[in-house]
């Protein structure tokens, strides 16, 4: 299970169990989310191997395997000790990197039959990356060494924001170009989109400082991951291919002809509108 807080703050939940009135319930809920998540991850991996989905969506299953393995490994660390903190944030950032690769897999598989839309997606993501780089340069110029003072939650939050923006850009392109997705890919997008979106909100609250990091956000962050896992389990139960396009564009330079025709038609519509209203 992906946790939002390092041990020092995550222990708030356990302390609540010792001293708070509803502590036992909170501990039970924490264990339920944690073990429930592990069970669904295992189920996903088993079904992925059985249905040979692992070879079709290798990055996605690597991500699930990584999260599963890191969660098992985290049981060997004492949450109150310092090494756990290093382990937690290292696995968190590796998970974040693999998560970004899931977005890349969505782009790679979803647009493999649509080179035109893929080109648009590359350009849009390139622009987004440029904006992110510029923002980082400006932030560094304003506050030198901000990245040393920033907490891991702040850094992860910023990266999650750009991941969310990349997902939004891709989805808008998929919508605009009416790209059909198979059930599997749709499930990956839906589950991962929900998880990343909610993590943006949770990390924004968490990076506000320990006072603001209410345990509610920790629960909802973990719960959103379980929701994503359930969505994935439902959509990746068996293999369903992406719909294949009927025909390909064989001719070179055909795009210019089509763009010119569309331009003419839109121009006609514009003239028609203007003429009618001006009269």
């Amino acid at each position: 299970m992906v946790r939002i807080f390092p041990s020092s703050r995550a222990s708030i939940l356990i302390q609540g169990g010792r001293y708070g009135s509803g502590g036992q319930r909170r501990i039970m809920l924490t264990h339920l989310i944690s073990w429930g998540g592990l069970a669904v991850e295992l189920l996903l991996l088993v079904r992925g191997v059985q249905q040979k989905l692992v070879s079709r969506y290798p990055i996605f299953y690597s991500y699930i395997l990584f999260i599963f393995a890191s969660e098992i490994a985290s049981q060997f660390f004492d949450p109150a000790k310092h090494p756990y903190l290093f382990f937690y944030w290292i696995t968190e950032f590796l998970g974040l990197f693999l998560g970004c690769m899931i977005v890349f897999e969505l782009y790679r598989i979803g647009l493999s039959e649509y080179p035109g839309t893929a080109r648009m997606a590359r350009a849009v993501l390139g622009v987004l990356f440029l904006i992110a780089s510029l923002r980082t340069v400006i932030a560094t110029a304003e506050v030198p060494l901000w990245w040393i003072n920033a907490t891991p939650a702040q850094v992860e939050g910023t990266l999650r924001v750009f991941e969310a923006l990349a997902i939004i850009s891709l989805v808008v392109l998929f919508l605009f170009y009416s790209i059909p997705f198979g059930r599997n890919l749709r499930g990956i997008l839906l589950g991962y989109g929900i998880f990343v979106s909610w993590s943006v909100v949770c990390l924004t609250f968490a990076s506000g400082g320990p006072d603001k990091s209410h345990s509610l956000w920790s629960y909802t962050y973990s719960a959103s991951y379980v929701v994503a896992l359930l969505v994935w389990a439902g959509h990746l139960w068996s293999y369903q291919p992406n719909p294949q396009p009927v025909r390909a564009i064989p001719l070179e330079k055909e795009y210019l002809r089509m763009a010119a025709a569309t331009q003419r038609r839109l121009e006609g519509a514009r003239g028609y509108l203007a003429k009618a209203v001006r009269s």
Binding site: S197, Q263, V277
Partner: protein
């Protein structure tokens, strides 16, 4: 790090866009199962016109309104305004649908194109969005003021479209000359 309202905004936009994508999947599949035929793209813009321009001009003209007002019948005046508003709104909706159809056909074909140009495509998308915005503004203006009082908006739309037409004309010339030579004008 971003502010909390911005985080909620990003979260909402992401969830909504993904939700719309999943919800629209059925209609996309239906559309997708139809054989693609882009011959329609070569047709003239005249196919967009559902009714003759003279008729549309009449709908937006204040002449009829003045004529009905001269009868000095309040009831007749109200009936005329209501009916005229409905006719004008139907026309704008039809035009909007036609513009959407043009763009849908375009994206259906170009999504598979190997040599798509980002700049050209971005300009088309901007143009499309602008036209849809003008249609939506027209709808609002018709609903609030009636079709006969659109002079101000029309003048603004006209000047805007003329400026854009000038910019686009340059692109069209470059595109057609490159087509003849078989080279990419934007590379």
């Amino acid at each position: 790090m971003i502010s909390i309202p911005a985080a909620f905004l990003i979260c909402t936009v992401a969830v909504l866009s993904i939700g719309v994508f999943v919800w629209r999947e059925a209609s996309v599949r239906r559309e997708f199962s139809r054989p693609s035929d882009h011959s329609g793209l070569d047709d003239d813009a005249a196919e967009l016109l559902y009714c003759p321009p003279e008729f549309v001009a009449r709908v937006f003209s204040p002449d009829d309104c003045k004529f009905v007002s001269s009868a000095r019948s309040r009831q007749l005046n109200q009936l005329f305004r209501r009916e005229r508003k409905v006719v004008a709104l139907v026309w704008v909706y039809q035009t909007k649908l036609a513009i959407r159809r043009v763009m849908r056909e375009h994206t259906r074909v170009t999504r598979q194109s190997q040599d798509l140009h980002f700049a050209t495509e971005a300009q088309l998308v901007l143009s499309y969005m602008q036209l849809i915005l003008v249609c939506n503004l027209l709808c609002l203006a018709i609903q609030s003021a009636g079709p006969a009082r659109l002079g101000t908006l029309a003048n603004y739309a006209d000047s805007l479209s003329q400026r854009i037409a000038q910019a686009r004309h340059g692109l069209a010339v470059a595109t057609s000359s490159a087509e003849l030579r078989g080279v990419n004008p934007l590379s």
